[in-house]
Amino acid sequence: MNDFAIIWSHRDSVWVGLLNTLVLIVLSGAISIAVGLLLTPVLVGSHKMLAKMVQFYVDAMRCVPFLLFVYLIYFGLPSAGLRLSNWAAGALALVLYNSAYMAELLRGAWLELPASILDSGRSFGFTGWGLLRHIMVTPMLIRALPMIGNQLIQILKDSAFLTVIAVKELTHELNGIQSTYFIPFASFITALILYWIVCMVMEAMMGSFEQFAASRRP
């Protein structure tokens, strides 16, 4: 148990790691849902060219392993003229990757909306963005809630990959400790427990959203 004592003595870096992970998931989670909501109308819209382009992007993200995508962003961006910090590059990778997934699952929710709600929305004068904002978005999000929850947990796990571009998230910090002191078991168990706790908190939050959703289900 000496190993855990070492980890405890480095709790500052573990804390930094945990904090970074949390910020990364909250930020990229929120942004990818928002971007997904903007992309979904294009995916189902009548502008065929744009819809095809967005569909291509969605398919591309779903076919690329996230680790590979992280490398692509990190090494590819500078040649496109963009110099980002490791953290920013990592966040960008998470957002770009998961927006595609969010767009796709929100598209599913969109298509499942009862036609009668759209009919009444239109009959009462809602059109275009107004229809989306007042009539469609909330029922879509409610419908997609379980899938969004799953995707957020996926983001949590994907964030661990960012260690390869030296982002100081949880995996990176504990990997640093284990390699310095040769205490792999204790380090990775600690990481596991912390990821697990974050996951439980996320599930609890999704649970409370579920309460909100239950009486408002389409």
Partner: protein, 265 residues
């Protein structure tokens, strides 16, 4: 069919409207006029086009031919771009037409009060405070003011439909369209909705009602329009239509309903 001159008290003027769905003629040269304060019931067998006609009035379906005027203003016609409506114009026109749906079509993520207030605030851009007051009034009128904070999922079918009616009335529409308002209801709940509609008829709210409730149509309408296979076959006051149908199709249709229909409580 002669073009009738547009007079102010004509709330609805439908002239020669036709509609095809993948080659099938759902509506053929339908003409209909509704005066302010009138209650017109559209009757006919399933598939005769009555719901489609209603949906054409507020442009949920676009007619292939003919014209529709609501309070003297023409709805756009999809005919090589002649008078095509912008989203803004469509929105404005639709806010003058109240619609009540067979499946209620309430917005599930909003409570009863918000359902009633949503469009007056965001489409008609009326003052929030006034809208709220009026919404509570209209909910009281349909007997649901105590349920204003509830969500549609918790309401019975009859309650949902009454909210639907309140929601349409809150728009202060020039005409109320009701598409089989009681067809999806449990027979026990039909009466409560029919009484609300009857009270509206007594107050001279202009209405076009598609219904299968023959007894109700007889009691509440000023005029009955009978349709079959996309055409208007007969149009008469209820007394004459129900007791002395002129056409064979109408007679055949009515023979099926002899003695049926729900009484009004």
């Amino acid at each position: 069919m002669q073009e009738k001159t547009l007079t102010p008290e004509l709330v609805l003027q439908i002239n020669g409207v036709s509609k095809n769905f993948s080659g099938k003629n759902v509506l053929s040269d339908v003409s209909l006029q509704v005066k302010k304060g009138e209650t017109v019931c559209l009757l006919g067998p399933s598939g005769c086009g009555k719901s489609t006609l209603l949906r054409c009035i507020n442009w949920l379906e676009v007619p292939d031919a003919g014209s529709i005027h609501v309070a003297g203003v023409r709805m756009g016609v999809k005919d090589n771009g002649v008078v095509k409506m912008s989203d803004h114009d469509l929105s404005e026109m639709r806010s003058r037409i109240g619609m009540v749906f067979q499946s209620f079509a309430l917005w599930p993520h909003l409570n009863v009060l918000d359902n009633v207030m949503l469009s007056p605030i965001h489409v008609q851009k009326r003052d929030k405070k006034t809208v709220r007051e009026e919404a509570l009034n209209v909910l009281q009128r349909v007997g649901l003011e105590e349920h204003c904070q509830q969500f549609p999922a918790k309401l019975s079918g009859g309650q949902k439909q009454r909210v639907g009616i309140a929601r349409a009335l809150a728009m202060k529409p020039q005409v109320l369209l009701l598409d089989e308002p009681t067809s999806a209801l449990d027979p026990m709940l039909v009466g409560e909705v029919l009484s609300v509609i009857q009270s509206l008829a007594l107050e001279q709210v202009t209405m076009v009602i598609v219904t299968h409730e023959m007894q109700f149509a007889k009691q509440v309408s000023n005029r009955v329009v009978f349709m079959d296979q996309g055409q208007v076959v007969e149009s008469a006051d209820p007394e004459r239509f129900f007791n002395h149908p002129q056409t064979e199709k109408a007679q055949k249709f009515l023979s099926r309903f002899h003695g049926l229909g729900h009484p009004i409580h």
